[in-house]
Amino acid sequence: MMAPAQQERLRGYLLGFVLALLLSLVPFACVHYQWLDRFPTMATIGICAVLQVLVHLRYFLHLRLSEAKERFWLLVFTLLLIGLMVGGSLWIMWDLTDRMMGH
């Protein structure tokens, strides 16, 4: 028999695992079976990816927003850097597409 606390922990990990699996399978299936058009497919993949990150933070890294202030600011910093990297890349690549395939 497991102690209740241990059982609780195991349940958390299993739930996280199932959610992570689901969030990976949905985009793959979307692409493979071509359920949706091009843009909705890309949007689904993007949304699933963001949810995936949140699931990992919540169930595997045990991050709670209510916890220490330090962690909150680290999260803000992380978001800032990722915003710079992803936003910058999108800007650069869209700008390039615009100039290459332009009107």
Partner: protein
């Protein structure tokens, strides 16, 4: 069964290559024979290969860096010699080999010289500076080491079987795609990089957690030694930037092996996205390399000026600002891609902005020197040369930040001169300074001063001779990576550059002699006090080399430069009471990280040569290693409080004896003579 492997893979396509392969092979055979002859295998396994101690791991990283540096230096020498003679003739290195040379030179210098050197130094010093007993994750630390070693092994393997990439150290597709580079070269490059980048990411996490969680009581953020600050910022950059490199190279690998189309022109791929992802890592990487060197210089300049750092807070803020800004400039590596004016202008301006915090640092160091009692020891010589020479490189960087200028000199020798001007006087001089400065802490004896100076002058003079001509050549229109040329007016400058490379090589030779001489004279050079430079931070309070637990009692810090302050107040070496000692636990040695390293080497090898059965076996083996580790229970050993207490008492008595009639608690300042 044998994949792409066949007799053709043997290095028989050129005399120089065959010679190099034979040389490497005989060095390996000689090392194995020596170890067997002296019966050192057991010692090596027990004390080094299985060690989880940050001190041992640090030393092994630096050994990797030096071995790989020897190779990359010889390659540089070959290229310089080739360019010095190859006016209107093919010289002695054919084009294919020349392309391999510049690709390996860059890859090795960045990933297997500078990165291991930095990681090694951080490993060695970081826990000591913050009053900790080890890294936060010692086992993970050993895994990082052996992944780096296996990546370096793959690069060496490319000399013995098959060829290395000819696509330069940045490996741009479509040239590195399967259509234009069908051989194994690019695969060697990809998998060596993949191993190194995973290793570095793990190290970065380890360093950052160690700094946030393992600081001794009283060591607040604004009391951290500057080397710790720069390590923290460098780790943040590693954690965010390195995944981008891993993704870029893995996508390229998918393109090459599984016929995908991320970076091809057809089927919706875009090769410029590789360039974007690569430099999204590549620019932060520049600061990953330079920030720890800034940290070393801050420690060295403060110690050898016998002063506290000028503008500590501004140095910290400058470091943090650089960390953030380094994620806003990456496009300046590909201005010529053809972005619109607003994109180019934004990244150009940000590049100029990032020079400001760097300038702040330069002034802080100069003001630290001002009215200090300067001792011109080898680390200080490197620091002074750095300040002068790095500013030159920085100014040429600001020039390159102007897009129209960049269009003119892009891909020319000017660029080669610029980044060598940043990385040699910046990172490499920083690492040499740190190596000399902390050598006594690692081994218990100082490095010989005379040969160290000769080595320093070799590097300095050689650097100027080798790279200043390249600025001119770049402005004269000489492209980089030229195997031969037909412009007679370039040749004199290229001969000067070749002479410079030779002098650098002589400098490196002096450093090798320095090491041998120092080991032979280790009794006269011995550091008995643990504080050979009259230094300021915690690592110098303990013995050289430190005991395996570092601090018998975790120190309590109440200001910046704690050791200097305690020496000033006259209680440098307090002996805690018996009741302050507690039993401690240290990680036991463990062989699994080494096994993981060996397995990942063969995994890389299998992926290069398409030996799928071997790839599956090694992957399963690696997973098995990880599973095995999580079932290991008895992974720590205990050291009793009594042992620690007796050790401290003995050391205290020795120190007392060394101090003689001087007051021990004011330190050994009187013993520090200027050589």
């Amino acid at each position: 069964m044998t994949g792409r492997l066949s007799w053709e893979a043997l290095p028989t396509y050129g005399a120089i290559v065959t010679f190099a392969a034979v040389l490497v092979l005989s060095l390996i055979v000689m090392t194995v024979a020596y170890l067997t002859w002296t019966g050192k295998w057991g010692y090596l396994w027990r004390e080094w290969l299985t060690s989880l101690s940050h001190k041992r791991i640090g030393i092994m990283y630096i050994i990797i860096a030096f071995v790989m540096m020897l190779r990359a230096l010889l390659e540089a020498m070959l290229m310089r010699a080739q360019q010095a003679v190859a006016l209107n003739n093919p010289g002695f290195v054919d084009a294919e080999h020349f392309h391999q040379l510049f690709s390996t030179h860059g890859t090795v210098m960045i990933f297997f010289v500078l990165m291991p050197f930095i990681t090694g130094l951080i490993n060695k010093v970081l826990p000591l500076q913050i009053g900790a007993r080890d890294m936060a994750f010692p086992w993970l630390n050993a895994v990082s080491l052996w992944l780096t070693a296996s990546g370096a092994g793959l690069v060496i393997m490319s000399l013995l079987l098959g060829r290395f990439s000819t696509g330069g150290w940045s490996g741009y597709p479509p040239y590195t795609g399967i259509d234009f580079s069908p051989g194994t070269g690019v695969d060697y490059w990809i998998w060596a990089l993949a191993l190194s980048s995973i290793s570095t990411t793990l190290s970065g996490i380890n360093f950052l957690v160690t700094i946030t969680k393992r600081r001794c009581p009283g060591m607040g953020w604004m009391r951290l030694p500057l080397f710790v600050w720069t390590t923290a910022c460098s780790s943040i950059l590693i954690i965010f930037a390195f995944p981008s490199l891993s993704v870029a190279t893995l996508l390229l690998a998918l393109d090459r092996t599984l016929d995908m189309h991320f970076f091809t022109n057809d089927l919706g791929g875009n090769m410029m996205h590789y360039v974007n992802l690569f430099w999204l890592w590549g620019h932060p990487e520049v600061y990953i390399l330079i920030l720890p060197a800034f940290g070393v210089f801050s420690e060295v300049i403060a110690t050898f000026s016998s002063k506290t750092l000028f503008g500590y807070r501004s140095l910290v803020y400058a470091t943090v600002v650089i960390t953030l800004l380094s994620f806003t400039v990456w496009l300046h590596h590909f201005f010529t891609m053809g972005s619109s004016a607003s994109v180019n202008a934004f990244f150009g301006i940000m590049t100029m902005v990032i020079a400001v915090p760097t300038g702040v640092k330069i002034y802080d160091w100069i003001f630290t020197l001002y009215r200090g009692r300067i001792r011109f020891s080898v680390p200080m010589l490197y620091a002074l040369a750095f300040i002068m020479t790095f500013v030159l490189g920085g100014v040429s960087g600001v020039l390159l930040a102007i897009p129209p200028f960049d269009y003119v000199v892009h891909n020319s020798a000017f660029l080669v001169a610029h980044f060598h001007n940043m990385l040699i006087p910046g990172t490499l001089f920083g690492m040499m300074a740190g190596y000399t400065y902390w050598f006594p802490k690692a081994t218990g004896f100082r490095l010989d001063e005379y040969w160290g100076r000769l080595g320093f002058y070799g590097w300095l003079v050689g650097f100027y001779l080798a790279f200043m001509p390249l600025y001119l050549l770049g402005l004269m229109g000489m492209p980089r990576r030229l195997q031969q040329y037909d412009q007679p007016e370039w040749q004199p400058l290229l001969i000067v550059a070749g002479a410079g490379a030779l002098i650098i090589l002589l400098g490196a030779l002096c450093q090798l002699i320095q090491l041998i001489v120092s080991i032979r004279r280790r009794r006269t050079l011995a550091d008995r006090t643990g504080d050979p430079w009259d230094a300021r931070t915690l690592e110098w309070t303990i013995a050289s080399p430190p005991p395996e637990w570092n601090f018998s009692v975790i120190p309590n810090v109440d200001e910046r430069d704690p050791f200097a302050a305690e020496k000033g107040k006259g209680h440098a070496y307090p002996l805690p009471a018996r009741k302050d000692y507690q039993d401690i636990e240290l990680p036991r040695n463990n062989g699994l990280p080494f096994v993981l390293g060996v397995l990942s080497f063969w995994l890389g090898f299998a992926l290069v040569w398409h030996l799928w059965w071997l790839a599956i076996l090694t992957l399963l083996g690696s997973a098995g290693c990880l599973a095995r580790r999580s079932f290991q229970r008895d992974s720590e050993k205990r050291i009793s409080a009594e042992n620690l207490y007796q050790y401290d008492r003995k050391r205290h008595q020795q120190l007392q004896k060394l101090a003689g009639h001087h007051a021990l608690n004011e330190g050994f300042r009187w013993e520090n003579k200027v050589d």
